[in-house]
Amino acid sequence: MGVLVIAEHDNHEIKGATLNTVTAAVALAAGDIEVLVAGENCQTVAEQAAAIKGISKVRMVDNGLYGNGLAEPFAALIVGLAEDYTHILLSHTTSGKNVAPRVAALLDVVQVSDIMEVQSSNTFVRPIYAGNALATVQADDPKLVITVRSTAFEKTGLGDEKVTIETMEAGKNPEISSFVGQELTRSERPELTSARIVVSGGRGMQSGDNFHLVEAVADKIGAGVGASRAAVDAGYVPNDYQVGQTGKIVAPELYVAVGISGAIQHLAGMKDSKVIVAINKDEEAPIFQVADYGLVGDLFEELPALTSELEKQGIKPR
């Protein structure tokens, strides 16, 4: 018996979140850790996975059924492998959240969602009420399905040695779903949940066009660009920019909140960041209560000034 970690990837590259999930798997101390790479033409991903430190094997299924991560065939595949494991771990991302409960229900076992801490192989800390409370929970089921909050665990490193890649046959296709298409927001900037620095704009930006001021700062320091729900609801930027309780949870080294008042729902998504900067003209804004460095001022003056100061000081993306 051991632990199965479901790798998240786009058939070319393994997603960083998988490396955080492996760290949580190590903390379980529940036997060997194996990584499942299911995809289409995903050999390179399997090879990347094989270099993850601390794992004992990669199991790969290369089949068109899994090319787009459709929940129905993917869950069926995982359930077929479940016998060999006491724990099945996925990242708490949209794809992990889509598949994990399906697996748990088919196995008739509990799922523990979004764990932040492993206390033992069956006891975990997880946020409830958008992180306004932390619950310590214990599950006695013989098998557990778990989704892992990436920002709560370090990434496991990659080593020079590679473990064996075992190739497996595809599972059954329930034939009730098919993939039609995808529209990904193209960006040269780092992805929000894995970025070292995030700069977010709020309703104070006043329009989508003004986001170029945020982007200019972000590009000087190699940051990802996010937004508050208010800015998303106002239509300034797409929904996948959203940081907060109902959007993405981020915990970068540096989080810069611009024109964001700091509603509970936004704070829930970023308050675990290492250093928080707030720029807002309202000095009473709640965001200043969590900010390490607050700058009271008009963002339409401060942002261009910040961009030129970064330029002047020769600050470059790391």
């Binding site: 949209t94 794809s95 959240k97 409960p101 523990v112 932390l134 993405k248 290492k274 700058l295 100061e309």
Partner: protein, 249 residues
Amino acid sequence: MKILVAVKRVIDYNVKVRVKGDNTGVELTNVKMSMNPFDEIAVEEAIRLHEAGIATEVIAVSLGEAKCAETIRTALAMGADRGIHVKTDEELQPLAVAKLLKAICEKETPDMVIVGKQAIDDDCSQTGQMLAALMGWAQGTFASKVEINDGKAQITREIDGGLETVELSMPIVVTTDLRLNEPRYASLPNIMKAKKKQIDEYSPEDLKIDASPRLKTLRVDEPPPRQGGGKVADVAELVDKLKNEAGVI
């Protein structure tokens, strides 16, 4: 086409949640309760499908204590046709809810079940997917658009990095994301009318489901507070602090 919507009674999203002094949970006495916001979106979507002539009946289901009947009334006032209340004082966890909903689905044979993508109390994000699995149905999770044509559903889903569209064979489970629609407010006449609509009651025993909790909560704590409140005078000081004090740029 019949649609079943599941609605959960939770602490209102505007209420600041407080952890109980004895760390056994959060304070629920004298706290305003409302329908889970994602479930409101589910009800709205079902009603719109009804109004568009695609759905013929919308049934609102809630599971839990006696007061869940109020949550069902809210859904009826928004426009659902009738309600089902699975009444129990026991804590219901997602897998138990999915099993109870499955039992209801077997009685009512809906073509579609719509639920919120997560409840804002336990934040599990499990019930819809679990129900789909138990029924052997396809699932359209985190939906921002639902289109029904010739026994198939095209669901646009919010995923990390953008949008994805899947085609599903009916019956299906849909879980709602924020941008699917904006829920309506119930009008006074509709609130009055809702009082006359039928709500059937069942217990987990009637449905022959063991709904006992499988995940034990050992304790609940406040998250560690964050020390903030530092200020800088201008961008020059900000850049200096970030570079030399925090060392993050």
